[in-house]
């Protein structure tokens, strides 16, 4: 049977996702109750929080935390790329060295590493650079080179490089070998092929776990308080050891960590969008997913 030709096209009524609305309302209510209880509970001493939030020593601590995170992430990922390339190379010695490095620095706890680097003078009292035939070019007592800051930087970078190496390696392995072949066949050098073809595509799989790592590293830097380096958390500790306002000062530190994590997450979102070029599915944020249940869908997506 042939349908009536004049009939208007049938209209699609989108499914109503009542379950999504209910669960969202419940979740919002729970969050509201929690915020309310925190704001009205005098034990949080919010006026102490406000007084200390932008005090000089806290701000200096924030600066130190940012500096440590920045240095360890930049050099850690640079080292991670080198380690990943070594691991994927055809040279068995480089493969073994890279594997051993990753194994070692993932095995030794961060705290132990920090103490080891800080106390390296006990193991090697003098550092010297000497070349056979030329003699000693440079030497210095280890303690003049290793400060709490340099010990922290070394430990954090070494630790970060080991984790970054695995993330970068996974990303590179995820890129189809044909991409490398095509780059080579067009006359790109291996370095050009890696830099222009493989790495940009690997970035898509590297970025989400790398974002995790960076935010993790932001808080890992807090271990430096054990060698008396005044990062954010240690600055808060110094104050509350004097005033006994423990909870409010931990709140101060938390608020700063949350602010920095927020900025990093926004940065991650924007970098991911940049490297998502040409991907089948751009990363969709979950609030869009929620909204799609009720709102009319915007036009065709890229």
């Amino acid at each position: 049977m042939v349908p009536e030709p004049a009939a208007a096209p049938l209209k699609v009524v989108r499914k109503r996702h009542y379950g999504r609305w209910c669960s969202a309302l419940v979740a919002l209510a729970v969050v509201a109750l929690m915020i309310d209880s925190m704001v009205r509970n005098p034990n949080f001493e919010w006026e102490v929080v406000a007084r200390n939030l932008t005090s000089d020593s806290i701000l200096a601590g924030v600066g130190m935390t940012i500096e440590l995170t920045f240095i360890s992430v930049v050099f850690g990922f640079a080292g991670g790329i080198v380690l990943a390339l070594m691991r994927l190379s055809a040279n068995p010695v480089l493969v073994a060295v890279s594997w051993t490095y990753t194994w070692l620095f993932r095995a030794v706890p961060m705290l132990v590493q920090l103490f080891l680097w800080y106390n390296i003078a006990a193991l090697y009292p003098r550092l010297a650079l000497s070349i056979p035939g030329l003699g000693e070019l440079w030497s210095a007592p280890t303690n003049s080179v290793i400060s709490p800051f340099s010990a922290a930087v070394i430990a954090l970078v070494m630790h970060q490089a080991a984790y970054a190496a695995e993330i970068v390696r996974a990303g590179i392995l995820g890129v189809n070998a044909g991409q490398h072949d095509a780059a080579q066949a067009l006359g790109l050098t291996p370095f050009q092929g890696f830099r222009r073809v493989v790495l940009p595509q690997a970035m898509r799989t590297i970025l989400p776990p790398a974002g995790n790592e960076v935010i993790g590293q932001l808080k890992t830097t807090a271990v430096v308080s054990v060698i008396a380096l005044q990062d954010l958390l240690y600055s808060a500790q110094i104050i509350y050891q004097r005033t006994y306002e423990v909870i409010p000062l931990l709140m101060v530190a938390t608020i700063w960590y949350m602010a920095m994590t927020t900025l990093l997450s926004i940065g991650q979102f924007m970098i991911e969008r940049h490297y998502g070029r040409g991907a089948a599915q751009q990363s969709a944020m979950s609030w869009q997913w929620l909204a799609r249940g009720a709102l009319p869908r915007s036009g065709a997506r890229r």
Binding site: N176, G178, Q179, D181, A182, A183, Q184, A185, L186, G187, L188, T189, P190, Q192, R196, V197, P200, Q201, Y275, R277, G278, A279, A280
Partner: protein
């Protein structure tokens, strides 16, 4: 007539398996050579040796009279640096079974990437040629598209245009239509036919016997790493001398 591609006495093993066994083949300038053979006979490996994506164990390969991948010093061959090999590859176009378009680049960016990086051309020159090539493969309107938005046949035509953008002396095709739906094969073969008519030297691995019959000047049949039969289409396809050849032809025809 001088040979654009001269393969002489090439052997290659992967581990203990001998994949190419004393293969010799000359492809004259401006001619089309189709390589046939069953799966695993070494067709892809031979093609990949021509632009040194694979190294050879013995023998030599010359393209345009230039030894590929090695430098001759008396009776020794020294493998060239990666940079020198890259320079040689720039003269040899290659098209892959799975297209291998750069997925993070738009169509036009795929076409200008190597001209900008390798030939250090200006963007204006590279884009002008890219647009001409896109028109030539019938996809002038898809310059801004992403590879994933295109059909397989369109992607393969873009891949051919990308290889041509380097203005190669010879073109290598490794089963360019094997990954395509049947109705998309024709468009790609059409592009390859007009390329052949324009005088491009082509070495084509394919199972498209119709294409081989129409376009090939020479057909070689490979089996277990050897070329066991070669000649013009009329001979190899219609009067094969070797029983392996006739057995293979009866399976693909």
């Amino acid at each position: 007539m001088s040979a654009a591609i001269e393969i002489s006495r090439v052997s290659k093993s992967f581990g203990f398996t001998r994949v190419l066994d004393d293969v010799s083949l000359a492809i004259p300038e401006g001619s089309v050579c189709v390589v046939l053979g069953p799966s695993g006979s070494g067709k892809s490996t031979l093609l990949r040796c021509v632009n040194h994506l694979e190294s050879v164990d013995a023998g030599t390969i010359e393209v345009g009279g230039e030894l590929i991948g090695y430098r001759r010093d008396g009776d020794r061959l020294h493998e060239l640096s990666a940079r020198a090999v890259a320079r040689q590859r720039a003269r040899i176009g290659m098209v892959f079974q799975h297209f291998n378009l750069f997925l993070h680049r738009t169509v036009i960016e795929n076409l200008i990437e190597a001209p900008l990086l390798v030939r250090r051309e200006s963007k204006a020159v590279a884009i002008a040629r890219a647009q001409r090539l896109l028109a030539q493969v019938g996809l002038a309107d898809r310059a801004a598209a992403w590879p994933r938005e295109l059909s397989g046949g369109q992607q393969q035509r873009i891949a051919i245009a990308r290889a041509l953008a380097m203005e190669p002396e010879v073109m290598l095709f490794d089963e360019p239509t094997s990954a395509l739906d049947p109705e998309l094969v024709g468009d790609v073969l059409q592009v390859m036919k007009s390329l052949a008519r324009s005088g491009m030297t082509m070495m084509v691995v394919t199972h498209e016997i119709g294409f081989a019959r129409e376009v090939a000047d020479q057909i070689v049949f490979m089996d277990q790493g050897r070329i066991i039969e070669s000649g013009p289409p009329s001979q190899v396809l219609d009067a094969p001398r070797h029983e392996r050849t006739s057995a293979f032809l009866s399976t693909v025809l």
